[in-house]
């Protein structure tokens, strides 16, 4: 039988070829190279399904494919480092491959409607960007070591820059693209230092296997092994925490966690299908995926986990509050993305590895759905994104409405839509692990508070957009959308409803039905996988123990679910009361001074700009030092050399007898020096 794993590189390379084709020949192809991209991502999707089936058949794959530095032991540096490209296919990466390729495929199809039908120019550049974006993310997903992951992580960042700035002739997009690039680069700087630290500490950066760095770290902590290098007499545990936090810098930047989340709302300047890709399956997902990928390392350092949980919970609440007052459809979705990735980080920090992956999966589908739905609305509204100009679109575009509604219910966490199951599991994990962990408990509380806020802003968005009376001429007569918009919406709408059923842990626990927690068993290597990369193993490594509230496990599950569902429904009801009326009005004025704070995103952008200027002051000081001291020395050397040069020039008189005299005297001087020191004349 042909081995599916042999085709894993093709999954990455197919979109890359579509990038090359669109770049080189896109001008001559119909639809600006769109069909090449669709064919490539469809091919990658089918191959990913095959790989998923193969993993389900009980196999996994961890193979180094290419040594790009120091093959065969003759490594670099004192710890014999080898730099490689390889492929790691386990249940986690197989699942992620399917998600990424599916979303990318649907985004490509949707782009036909959003870009081609709208008569955009520069389409080859657009499809080339999409292809490279997809390829970079897929390469990141299958990476078997941290350095390779970093390289593709950077490529993802580059592609987001190219695509966010797609409309580079307008003032907003290039600035947003630069912001996204610079802010994530700030985080990636720490990541890079972290990668080097991992290499220096362990001599390897592979994720899986006996000699992988999580395994080495575990062995070193157990005392059954040692690491190659620890700087300056630090405790091993402290150093591992520092390394974990350094890598986390990249995660915080890419996954738009506080305080590096500011690039993401601006990134809405990019074309809407790109936003869908960025938010659902590629760039923002990359950060969370990275933590999940090296969870065996993070599980060893309780401090890092607590920090992750607290950042996650804080971001979830913080971003949700900012989403409350936004007027533009995509802005609301942007803040919801930040908030939802906060939940995933909370889950990871709380030891809920499966819950995080679960929410990553469901979120990928419903957030892609919401963005594509928003894209459909934007097409209909002739690219007016202000929700106050919409209203009443429900009857005009039913497919968009119902799929968007499904996505919104999932986002708000309403039973039985996908988001309910995953969010509930996250909160449950945080709750049972929280006692005795103040940071984690804080994260849990904030995550819980974010539930009604999320439900409120989600349905405020739905009601303002689709319900009530049309509030503008375009809303009364929206532009129709075609199959290439409705098709992807239908697929994602279905998935937003059903994805939750792959992991019905609460139902299992309450009713005692065995075997319906498919994702749990999947990530626990029940079908196949690699030792040391299972959720069970991570739970053993992790610092947490479970404590239940009233009524033991079943009681806690029921109480937790009831509380979060009740809060979500409250949020929906408030939104219903305020905005599901024929002519809704702005209620933000009632918030008083808070409104301005929320509108201005807690003035964080201003803070960052202020910080940038203060950095500039420091840089100015360094510049003065550089100009005065360093350049002074350099200039001094150069004036000395020019002066000296002029002197030397004068020796070259052009008179041969002088030359021979100097020559002979020089030789005599040499003879004298050597002769006297060597004692020849004695």
């Amino acid at each position: 039988m042909v081995d599916a794993f042999a085709y894993v590189p093709a999954i990455v390379l197919l979109p890359f070829f579509s990038f090359l084709v669109a770049l080189g020949a896109g001008r001559y192809l119909p639809k600006g190279g769109a069909f090449g991209g669709i064919a490539a991502t469809a091919g990658s999707f089918l191959l990913s399904l095959w790989v998923l089936a193969t993993v389900a058949g009980g196999r996994a794959y961890n193979e180094t494919l290419y040594y790009w530095a120091s093959e065969g032991g003759a490594g670099i540096g004192p710890t014999d480092i080898e730099l490689t490209f390889g492929v790691l296919i386990d249940p986690l990466s197989a699942l992620m491959l399917v998600i990424v390729t599916l979303v990318a495929l649907l985004v490509h199809v949707f782009s036909l409607g959003y870009m081609n039908d709208e008569g955009e120019t520069g389409l080859p550049r657009y499809y080339a960007g999409l292809g490279l974006f997809t390829a970079s993310m897929l390469g990141f997903v299958v990476a078997d070591n941290l350095l390779m992951a970093f390289m593709f992580f950077e490529l993802v960042g580059l592609c987001s820059y190219l695509l966010i700035g797609f409309h580079f002739r307008e003032p907003g997009p290039p600035s947003a693209a630069k912001k996204a690039f610079l802010v994530t680069r700030f985080g990636d700087y720490f990541f890079l230092v972290g990668v080097v630290a991992v290499f220096a500490t362990f001599g390897t950066a592979t994720f899986a296997g006996e000699g992988s760095f999580p395994a080495l770290a575990d062995a070193a902590l157990n005392g059954s092994g040692s690491v190659a290098w620890i700087p300056g007499g630090l405790e091993l545990q402290t150093w591992l925490t520092i390394v974990g936090l350094l890598v986390l810098g990249g995660v915080v930047g890419k996954s738009a966690q506080f305080p590096l989340h500011t690039w993401l709302p601006d990134a809405m300047e990019g074309p809407t299908p790109v936003s869908a890709l960025i938010h659902a399956a590629t760039m923002v997902a990359a950060g969370v995926y990275l933590v999940a990928r090296m969870y065996g390392f993070y599980a060893l350092t309780p401090t890092t986990l607590a920090v992750i949980a607290f950042i996650g919970g804080f971001t979830a609440l913080f971003a949700a509050t900012m989403g409350l007052v936004k007027d533009e459809l995509k802005q609301v979705l942007a803040y919801s993305t930040i908030s939802q990735y906060g939940y995933m980080m909370l889950a990871l920090g709380a030891g809920g590895y499966v819950a995080a992956v679960f929410h990553l999966t469901t979120h990928a589908f419903f957030k892609a759905l919401l963005f594509l739905g928003a894209g459909a609305v934007i097409i209909a509204m002739h690219h007016n994104e202000d929700m106050w100009d919409m209203g009443g679109l429900k009857s005009k575009m039913p497919v968009t409405y119902y799929t968007f509604l499904a996505g919104s219910l999932a986002l708000a966490g309403i039973f039985p839509f996908a988001g309910f199951w995953s969010k509930d599991e996250i909160l449950y994990e945080a709750l049972v692990h929280a006692p005795g962990e103040p940071l984690l408990f804080g994260g849990y509380l904030m995550g819980l508070l974010a539930v009604p806020v999320t439900a409120f802003y989600t349905f405020r968005m739905v009601f303002l957009t689709f319900h009530g009376e049309p509030r503008s001429a375009t809303a009364r007569d929206p532009e129709p959308v075609r199959w290439n918009v409705k098709g992807p919406l239908a697929v994602l709408g279905t998935l937003a409803v059903v994805t939750g059923f792959i992991n019905m842990v609460p139902v299992q626990k309450v009713l005692g039905l065995e075997g319906i927690d498919v994702l749990h068993r999947w990530l626990d290597n029940e079908w196949g996988g690699i030792d040391g990369l299972s959720s069970h193993h991570y739970a053993d490594l992790g610092p947490y123990s479970s404590e239940y509230l009233v009524g033991g496990e079943v009681g806690t599950v029921l109480v937790g679910a009831a509380v979060s569902l009740g809060l979500a429904l409250t949020g929906v009801l408030v939104a219903w009361r305020l905005y599901n009326v024929p002519s809704p009005t702005e209620h933000t004025a009632k918030l008083g001074g808070i409104k301005d704070v929320l509108y201005n995103n807690y003035y964080l952008d201003e803070l960052q700009v202020w910080l940038a200027y203060r950095t500039e002051d420091v840089a100015g000081g360094a510049d003065t030092f550089d100009q005065g001291i360093i350049d002074g020395v350099v200039n001094g050397v150069s004036s000395v050399s020019l002066f000296g040069g002029n002197r030397i020039r004068r020796i070259q008189t052009g008179i041969v007898s002088q030359y021979t005299a100097i020559l002979t005297l020089g030789l005599v001087a040499l003879i004298l020096v050597l002769g006297v020191t060597g004692g020849w004349f004695l």
């Binding site: 050399s641 040069g645 070259q652 041969v656 030359y659 020089g666």
Partner: protein, 503 residues
């Protein structure tokens, strides 16, 4: 292959060059009507390229390497063909072919250019012979065989006062240096009783009161080497000869002739005067070379920084580079495990230098062919009219300055690293400081070519011809300079293996 072919096959490159030179001279003398600039240039280029091919073939088949039974000794040990000799022969043949190709355009209106080609090839023959010589007598004869055609070549423009004056000065300083060198040889012979290098080396261990004689002779031989490599204070001929000579001749002298000086130095100061024995006998020629290297690189770079004419700047820069290459003999130590590494790095630097410096002088030759003038200002804006050649010149300049990613960076890096590993941090530091200074004047050329505006709109009108052969030579040198970056691995390995075999 020594078993299959007669050992004299190892001399094939030398013989090919000698045959080419003789054939050119013969045709020039017997059938003066049959010669022409083109046919002579083609014949000389073919001859040097075939010699290069033979050298590469011999290197690839491993002649003279330790694996194939060691060096090939011929004519009662007076000739010794080893990897280092072949390595340098490759440099000589490459530079010669570049120079004769470029000369075809440079001498397009010269009345009697045929003699030029035979003289260049004869000088190259002398260099190749110098590389294989294993006896002090052969060394001296080969050295003269390089020098005498060189004097004539510098003065090749018989009607040009600068050219003749430069040739005359070169000859006078050269005669003095040859006398010193020959006197040194006789003193060494008096002290050791042999002219064969290995025998001299054996006798160095038991000098018995003749240390003073031997030491005096060795320092005089150092002087002879310093003349050939244009090291301070034997450098005085160089700026004027390079400036007065036709530019292809300057390229030839500053690249190939200099390398010939170094092959003698490497040969003599490993075999005839081994480091360990010399230091044990209190003859500290390592210090002498250290002083020469330091003074040479500093003076060369300082003087280059203040020049107004590009050709003269290149002349001084070439002196500075001689200082860098001298590190290859100045950074040796008695026990040094890194001796082979540092000398090999100097060889690799000379190879890279052979291409980048020849290319730079040939660009000057092209500018002279156009007649745009000689100073930095005259070069302003040339990139607009001649973008390819100017890009090539920028490559040469940055590579000479030792900027990554050009080959000059790697050769200099290995050289300084070798010096540091062998305990000569001060030489490496001085070399690094000098490299920084050199960046100043090299980038002046690039700035003039690409950034500065021409003095007047008509000042570039002189650039009205496209000398094909000159272009080809310049572009080829640039391509070689760039390709030596990925190809630097094999080069440095060959060079270090060749150098290690000497110790």
């Amino acid at each position: 292959m020594g078993n299959v072919l007669p050992p004299v096959t190892a001399l094939l490159p030398v013989l090919l060059l000698a045959f080419t030179g003789l054939a050119l001279l013969l045709v020039d003398t017997v059938r003066p009507d049959a010669r022409s600039n083109t046919s002579s240039a083609v014949a000389a280029a073919l001859g040097s390229l075939v010699a290069l091919a033979a050298t590469v073939w011999l290197t690839v088949t491993g002649v003279g390497s330790a694996d194939a039974g060691g060096a090939v000794l011929l004519f009662a040990d007076a000739i010794k063909v080893d990897t280092m000799a072949l390595f340098f022969t490759a440099i000589f043949a490459s530079v010669t072919s570049l120079v004769v190709v470029a000369a075809h355009d440079y001498f397009h209106d010269h009345a009697d250019p045929a003699a030029f080609y035979s003289l260049v090839v004869f000088a190259a023959t002398g260099m190749a012979l110098l590389a294989v010589s294993n006896s002090l007598a052969v060394v001296f004869v080969a050295l003269e065989m390089v020098s005498l055609p060189s004097y004539v070549l510098v003065a090749f423009f018989k009607k040009n006062r600068g050219s003749v004056e430069a040739g005359m000065k070169y000859f006078l300083v050269g005669a003095l240096s040859s006398a010193i060198f020959l006197f040194g040889i006789s003193l060494v012979y008096a002290a050791t009783g042999s002219l064969i290098l290995s025998d001299v080396g054996d006798a160095m261990g038991s000098l018995d009161g003749l240390v003073g004689i031997a030491g005096l002779g060795i320092v005089m031989i150092v002087g002879g080497v310093a003349f050939k490599t244009a090291s301070v204070p034997f450098h005085f001929w160089a700026p004027e000869a390079y400036e007065g000579a036709p530019a292809p001749v300057s390229a030839f002298l500053s690249s190939a002739s200099k390398a010939a000086g170094f092959v003698v130095a490497f040969r003599l100061f490993t075999e005839a005067f081994p480091v360990g024995a010399s230091l044990a006998a209190d003859i500290n020629w390592v210090l002498a070379f250290g002083v020469l290297a330091a003074v040479t690189m500093t003076l060369g770079n300082f003087a280059a920084a203040v020049q107004e004419e590009v050709k003269r700047m290149l002349a001084y820069s070439s002196i500075g580079h001689a200082g860098y290459a001298l590190i290859g003999v100045a950074a040796l130590s008695a026990d040094g495990s890194g001796n082979g590494a540092v000398m090999g790095a100097a060889m690799a630097h000379l190879l890279v230098y052979g291409f980048m410096n020849t290319g730079a002088f040939l660009f000057v030759a092209m500018a002279e062919r156009w007649g745009v003038g000689r100073t930095f200002q005259d070069y302003a804006g040339l990139a607009r009219r001649a973008p390819v050649a100017s890009t090539a010149m920028a490559v040469f300049m940055f590579s000479l300055a030792g900027l990554p990613p050009f080959a000059g960076f790697f050769s200099k890096y290995f050289l300084f690293m070798g010096a540091i590993d062998n305990g000569f941090v001060w030489l490496a530091a001085l070399g690094a400081v000098n490299s920084v200074i050199s960046l100043y004047y090299y980038s002046r050329v690039v700035k003039a070519l690409f950034i500065d505006d021409p003095e007047s709109s008509s000042s570039l009108d002189a650039v009205d011809v496209r000398p094909t052969a000159l272009y080809a030579a310049v572009v080829f040198a640039a391509v070689a300079t760039v390709l030596l970056l990925p190809g630097f691995g094999p080069v440095i390995e060959t060079a270090e293996a060749a150098a290690s075999a000497l110790f």
